[in-house]
């Protein structure tokens, strides 16, 4: 009995797959796009705005005729339900809906988990926001690409900006969230920093648990240690809480803070953040982007987004738009290569490699390993009368190709080989 | 019959100021039917609890069948053959009458089989004969919680009998039973005891019952044995008449 059932199951399942495979060639009525994003949990501070952005921008794309007349139809999956529940949801959307394209996701942990599954399901998966460099360095994928930078690019840029602001810094303490991003980003940051400035003393490495709500003890300890610089790659509620408690207790007066993800908290934190804090944007996204701020595409979208949500776009919003632009560009490239015929998933996946496209800010290039090259933007907070929250001054934009691990190398090792000459590279322009 | 079946030496126990066991020296020979009389709080049940290992005495010792059982748990003592029934029937309220007895029977072997169903794990005859003795054979499939008090008492006793004890201690077997039922109940119990030739101690208030069924009577007053002897002697004893029977 068991075997017969088994074989029946296989037949059924296979037939479904075959059918799906056949469909891919014909130009479909619509292109289903599955999007994983945090709709619940702490990370929904990125996820919810990104969802709004996706809806707005897909509307805009469809209004312009979609991809060769094929309209995009998004379906959203909540990343907040926990990795295991997320996986079965992901499978459901792909297998049930015959969805051919997925945008996943925000959490590095989730990307690490989803990438092999996507390869397994033979579905094009665009990692639109997660930062972990490991996923594409540890394994070569055909169906998985990333339309933005990875942790290495972001951390190297952060170190460079820090050393530009404080060339002779002596000591640093770190306070990151206790999970993959917090640990890995610190490893990259530390290796880079020590490569460029071996004499820096690391006085404390604190990893309070993800979603911790009370940092007063950590703050007391940091005040007692008096590090010259305090790094935190935390984000969302955790970052807000830490920054607020730190500001309330004057820690931000005694130490220079470098917060590579704080662009996403600027507006929420309002005036809590003092002047002169180093803030990163996980990319070159900023509504006052020194090169692009007058570009209509950026201007219009920022305005549209503000009309809808009442707040300025944050990096997850830019990343979502960038992911969708990358998707569209990939399909158009594949269609051209396919002599105007609708491409198969495989053709699109291959077309994504070597693709050059532009989101709302600078052009992004996708390498043959699927990794996107995205410039990095950092600056110092400055309160101004025009805005209710600090804006960035002394902005520097770092070209991605100079600060990204070459194809085939592993980041934690590569960053150790960075030479101090990089600091004085003429292509790192500062804008005021 | 050299060694006494049950022997307590200088048992002492006090809850704060209240002395419940006042240097009790007591021994019981095989085959006796001892009735324990005494007012509530005189220490009768405490004496039972000490003997069966539920309470540890502050001083003195309990020997059963020649062995010291003072520090042993109720479970071990029961397996040695000193078994009790309870004033308030202690049943497995979610089990049927027959299953209650079966569980007790299974307890006798002491082994916790994981495979054989309870029904097959114990001897059917043993269970049936005990149910027969106490006259519950007809109610075998009833839920124990559903029985009337009299029958609950009987079941409680049946669960003790099926362990084939050497000594059975019955704590007020007739309490909570209407007067006209009492004699029938005792008759049933005694028949069962005779059938198994069990030595027995029973706590009892009813003088008629005591004089009718006991071969020996011990009267408890304030934690000590005030009188001990044949029913005639003890029930004639003045102190007993005054403090226990209350005349």
């Amino acid at each position: 009995m068991k075997m017969s059932v088994l074989s029946r199951l296989l037949v059924g399942a296979l037939s479904v797959l075959v059918a799906a495979g056949a469909l891919a060639q014909v130009k479909p009525a619509e292109l289903k796009v599955g999007i994983t994003t945090f709709l619940s949990g702490p990370a929904s501070v990125f996820g919810v705005p990104a969802k709004v952005a996706a809806e707005l921008y897909i509307e805009q794309i469809n209004a312009a005729g979609g991809i060769n007349g094929v309209k995009l139809v998004p379906s959203f999956i909540d990343e907040g339900v926990g990795a295991d529940k997320l996986l079965s949801e992901y499978r459901r959307v792909v297998q049930e809906g015959g969805t051919r394209v997925m945008l996943a996701g925000i959490s590095s942990g989730n990307c690490n988990i989803i990438a092999p599954v996507a390869e397994d399901l033979k579905v094009l998966n665009i990692m639109w926001d997660c930062g972990t460099e490991k996923v594409l360095e540890d394994k070569r994928y055909r169906y998985v690409t990333r339309t933005q930078a990875n942790a290495t690019t972001e951390m190297v840029a952060s170190v460079l900006y820090l050393l530009k602001t404080r060339p002779d810094m002596k000591s640093i303490a770190v306070m990151n969230q206790d999970y993959a991003w917090g640990r890995d980003s610190w490893e990259l940051f530390r290796n880079t920093l020590l490569a460029l400035k071996p004499d820096v003393k690391i006085v404390a490495e604190l990893f309070p648990k993800f979603g911790a709500t009370d940092y007063s003890t950590e703050i007391s300890r940091l005040q007692a240690l008096r590090p010259e610089v305090i790094l935190s790659t935390a984000w969302g509620g955790d970052l807000d809480t830490f920054v607020r408690q730190a500001a309330q207790r004057g820690l931000m007066k005694s130490s220079l803070f470098i917060l590579p993800l704080a662009e996403s908290s600027l507006e929420r934190l309002g005036t809590t953040l003092p002047d002169g804090v180093i803030v990163g944007a996980r990319g070159d996204h900023y509504f006052l982007h020194p090169q692009q701020k007058d570009d209509p595409k950026l201007k219009n979208f920022v305005q549209k987004f503000r009309e809808n949500t009442g707040s300025y776009p944050i990096y997850s919003v830019y990343h979502m738009v960038q992911g969708l632009d990358g998707l569209v560009a990939g399909y158009q490239k594949a269609i051209k290569a396919n002599k105007g015929q609708w491409p198969s998933t495989e053709q699109v996946a291959d077309a994504m490699r070597g693709l050059e496209f532009r989101g709302l800010t600078n052009v992004v290039k996708i390498r043959e390993d699927g990794q996107g090259l995205e410039d990095q933007l950092l600056g110092l907070t400055k309160k101004t009368p025009e805005y209710k929250f600090p804006i960035l001054e002394k902005i520097v934009i770092y070209p991605a190709e100079l600060i990204t691990t070459p194809v085939g190398q592993k980041s934690p090792e590569w960053v150790k080989t960075i030479k101090p000459e990089l600091l004085s590279n003429p292509r790192f322009k500062q804008y005021n | 019959m050299s060694t006494p079946l049950l022997q307590t030496t200088d048992l002492q126990l006090a809850f704060g100021a209240v002395v419940v066991a006042d240097h009790i020296n007591f021994s019981l020979a095989r085959g006796e039917r001892l009735a324990v009389i005494g007012q509530n709080g005189a220490g009768k049940t405490t004496f039972i609890n000490i003997c069966t290992g539920l309470i540890r005495p502050q001083g003195g010792s309990v020997h059963f069948d020649g062995e010291d059982v003072t520090r042993l748990s109720p479970r071990v003592i029961a397996s040695r053959g000193m078994v009790r029934s309870f004033q308030l029937p202690q049943l497995f309220s979610e089990h049927t009458v027959r299953d209650c007895v079966r569980l007790a029977a299974a307890g006798k072997s002491g082994r916790l089989g994981l495979w054989t169903p309870l029904a097959q794990a114990v001897s059917k005859d043993a269970v049936d004969s005990v149910l027969e003795m106490v006259g519950l054979a007809a109610r075998g499939d009833a839920l124990s919680a559903a029985l009337p008090e009299g029958q609950r008492k009987l079941l409680d006793i049946a669960m003790a009998l099926v362990l084939e004890p050497k000594l059975l201690i019955l704590d007020e077997p007739t309490s909570g039973v209407s007067t006209d039922e009492k004699h029938g109940l005792m008759a049933t119990i005694m028949r069962a005891l005779d059938a198994q030739k069990v030595t027995a101690i029973f706590v009892e208030h009813d003088v008629d019952i005591v004089s009718q069924y006991a071969t020996r009577v011990a009267a408890w007053i304030a934690g000590r044995i005030a009188a001990d002897g044949t029913p005639e002697q003890v029930l004639a004893d003045l102190e007993v008449r005054k403090n226990v029977i209350g005349e």
Partner: protein, 301 residues
């Protein structure tokens, strides 16, 4: 670790313990009187914080001075306690007092699940944070370390005041005495003509208010995010269990114990910080299952 750091660890530990104590107090009260561990108690903590943030935000929008927060925070707690606590008691709890403990736990667990989503539906998923009161009260330096007066002074003193108030309420007020009576024996109290229904309601509402108060007090220093209650419930479990169920003084000591242990571990072995409360709970339950300050027996046999 240098001498003054001990002092610092103590200060950090106390302000944390203060909140822990308030939550645990409510839970232990409910258990003392109704013999039920309320799994949804953490939800009152969460709701209290949200309510406080909402009211606070509104007040700030009205241009009210931050000082008003001193009124708004307890107000939020009372609203939450009466509204949700009252609702839960009348709709659920009073129907399960005679039920099997397993079912009681299950019902409160269901209530917890419902509250979890309720928060998300009402307050969304974005962090809430209204901290004007903290800045308003300013800071104090201890050994060159800056502390906010809010955490250094306000939180612990509120906790103490509440403790003393509750103690004397139970001792001297007639309702308080009735609560104590019911906690000793439901049946007898009923026989004595105490309206047990009413007392249960009062107790539960008071307990809910305490939980909510802790949330309200925490909200100015913490970004309020969904799921914040699930964490708190286990921590207050740890406190209540360590102290011994129904032990009010015990809860105070246990909260301080756990608060200090936690802050010291941040200085000495940061890796153990999250583990500490549970380790303490396990050790205590293992060697003194009835808790440090309770005389009850662990099992009935």
């Amino acid at each position: 670790m240098p001498q003054e750091l001990y002092a610092l660890a103590v200060l950090d530990g106390l302000s944390y313990a203060a909140l822990l104590f308030l939550v645990a107090l409510g839970m232990t009260l409910v258990f003392g009187v109704m013999n039920i561990i309320n799994m949804a108690h953490g939800s009152f903590y969460a709701l209290g914080g949200y309510m406080a943030a909402t009211l606070g935000g509104w007040a700030v929008a009205q241009g009210a001075s931050p000082a008003w927060s001193l009124l708004i925070l307890p107000l939020a707690a009372v609203i939450v306690g009466c509204l949700f606590g009252g609702l839960m008691e009348t709709a659920l709890m009073r129907r399960i007092y005679d039920k099997d403990p397993i079912l009681q736990l299950l019902v409160t667990f269901s209530a917890f699940m419902i509250f979890e989503d309720f928060q998300r539906l009402v307050w969304g998923t974005q962090p809430y944070f209204v901290s004007d009161i903290v800045n308003y009260l300013g800071t104090t330096d201890v050994f060159g370390i800056t502390y906010t007066r809010y955490q250094l002074l306000l939180l612990p003193s509120v906790a103490l005041v509440v403790f003393v108030a509750l103690r004397s309420f139970l001792k001297y007020s007639s309702v308080g005495r009735q609560i104590v009576a019911v906690s000793h024996n439901r049946e007898v109290s009923t026989a004595m003509g105490i309206n047990v229904r009413r007392i249960s309601l009062v107790t539960f509402v008071v307990a809910s208010i305490l939980g909510a108060l802790a949330g309200a007090l925490a909200s100015p220093t913490v970004s309020w995010v969904p799921g914040i209650g699930a964490e708190m419930i286990v921590l207050s479990f740890a406190v209540v269990a360590t102290a011994g169920l129904g032990q009010i003084e015990g809860a105070l000591v246990a909260a301080i114990l756990i608060g200090l242990a936690r802050s010291f571990s941040v200085y000495m072995l940061p890796e153990l910080e999250v583990l500490v409360p549970y380790l303490i709970m396990v050790l205590v339950l293992l060697f003194r299952p009835q808790g440090l300050f309770s005389v009850a027996k662990a099992r009935r046999v």
